[in-house]
């Protein structure tokens, strides 16, 4: 079935349509949250919360404002960042630094040793290993942290327009790697 049609049915509170959408996106949404909170059980819990919220706020989605996945991703980012900023999270994970996605590769070995989040990052490595640090940073900010263009430009100390073009080239590189890897 066509995604647009599925989303319309979901917005009319069709549970079966919602189940299909969940099946399509739950791993991605949980992954995005996981990068931020760095605890797979915590990530799953927030992820389920996010989909519950998505169901209850179905009518607020409007296709003219963006992609359905983007809408869900935005809700997930907010939930994950809220969690990370919470007192309970800070008490629990105070030794972790503020970098999320960028650090995941650097920390990979460390993480596996601690057996805290033993995930298979081979796919991730294949996708991003030859990406430059500045690419990893900009992808993290825009897709995982939900920074605006302005915030990103300020954070990376680059002109506003450069955010757009640099991100474009970084994503292109990512797509290239994926195409190679998946073929």
């Amino acid at each position: 079935m066509d995604l647009d049609e599925l989303v319309k049915r979901f917005q009319r509170k069709d549970v079966m349509a919602f189940e299909q959408l969940y099946g399509m996106y739950w791993e991605n949404i949980c992954g995005a949250i996981h990068v931020v909170v760095r605890d797979k059980y915590m990530a799953e819990e927030i992820c389920q919360d996010v989909f519950t919220k998505v169901w209850h706020n179905a009518e607020t989605y409007n296709p003219s404002k963006g992609r359905f996945f983007t809408w869900v991703l935005n809700i997930a980012r907010n939930a994950a960042i809220d969690k990370v900023r919470s007192k309970s999270y800070k008490n629990q994970k105070k030794n972790l630094s503020a970098d999320y996605f960028v650090g995941i590769l650097n920390r990979a070995d460390d993480i596996e040793e601690k057996d805290e989040n033993p995930i298979d990052i081979s796919a991730l490595k294949a996708m991003v290993l030859d990406l430059k640090q500045k690419c990893l940073e900009i992808i993290e900010m825009l897709y995982f942290k939900g920074y605006t263009q302005k915030e990103t430009s300020k954070q990376l100390d680059i002109p506003l327009g450069t955010v757009k073009t640099r991100n474009r080239s970084c994503i292109s590189k990512l797509r290239e790697n994926i195409t190679v890897g998946w073929k």
Binding site: E19, Y41, T52, K65, N74, P118, A123, L142, K164, N167
Partner: protein, 268 residues
């Protein structure tokens, strides 16, 4: 509109990231509807982001999945979830409760039997008390009798007559206490042997000149009488008392061959 240039600007990547303004979003949306290349490019970018995010998904052995979502959105009650982990846990509260109940039951049963034992003990003691009371009552009665008897014998009007043993039984003796005023004779037969089966002692009042015996009565139940003192009526002007052994029921006239004791009333 130069579609290629639009795509190269990088706005579509930001559109997928969801960081554009509302106006920009609407613009991209409209262009995507208009230009299939733009739509295709958006899908390609989204696909890359989907693969990237999927690669960092928490790899769980048993993801909660959509069943959990159904429960959360109220489409299904959490029946499955409740059942599983319960059985393995030892329900100490329940066990403790049962143990306490059993102990209480045993305790109550023990108390019940104890109480019954006490009750039967009390009953036994009560019975023993009754026996003792009876004995005391009897003893008191016996004492009263004895005192009464003693008073009777000490009466100043009582004449004491010793009855000595005769040929049949020289060791035998008896005493007669005669209250002339009340016409009563107390025979103390302590010194007589037990009569043989089918025989009974008979007491006689005697007039000596001529010898005239008058029966005063039998010493009935001689063996079982404790103090061997028998009270008989004697309205006669007796000069002597004699005791003979007679067949059960007594005789009209005394068998003098079986005269055990005899004593004369002193004239004074």
């Amino acid at each position: 509109m130069e579609v290629e240039k639009y795509i190269e600007s990088g706005i579509l990547e930001l559109y997928v990231a969801g960081v554009l303004s509302e106006e920009e979003n609407f613009e991209v949306y409209q262009n995507a509807q208009k230009y299939p290349e733009i739509k295709k490019e958006i899908l390609a970018i989204e696909d890359a982001i989907l693969k990237l995010t999927k690669s960092v998904s928490p790899q769980l052995m048993l993801p909660k999945g959509f069943e959990d979502i159904r429960v959360r959105i109220g489409e299904r009650k959490a029946t499955k979830v409740v059942q599983m982990p319960k059985e393995e846990k030892t329900n100490w509260a329940a066990y403790t409760g049962w143990a306490a109940a059993i102990l209480l039951g045993l305790g109550l049963f023990w108390l019940y039997t104890q109480n019954n034992e006490l009750k039967s003990d009390v009953k036994v003691v009560e019975e023993q008390n009754q026996v003792l009371e009876q004995q005391i009552f009897e003893a008191r009665g016996s004492l009263a009798n004895t005192e009464e008897l003693l008073n009777d014998l000490r009466d100043k009007d009582v004449a004491v007559i010793s009855l000595g043993g005769q040929e049949v039984s020289p060791e035998s003796y008896a005493k007669a206490y005669w209250n002339k005023r009340e016409n009563k004779v107390f025979i103390d037969a302590q010194g007589l042997p037990e009569p043989p089966d089918g025989m009974v002692y008979q007491v006689w009042s005697l007039k000596l000149d001529p010898l005239t015996p008058t029966s005063m009565g039998l010493l009935e139940e001689f063996e079982t009488d404790d103090n061997k003192i028998f009270i008989l009526n004697n309205p006669n002007e007796s000069e002597a008392f004699g005791i003979t052994l007679e067949p059960a029921g007594g005789s009209e006239t005394p068998n003098l061959e079986q005269l055990y004791t005899l004593g004369a009333v002193s004239s004074s």
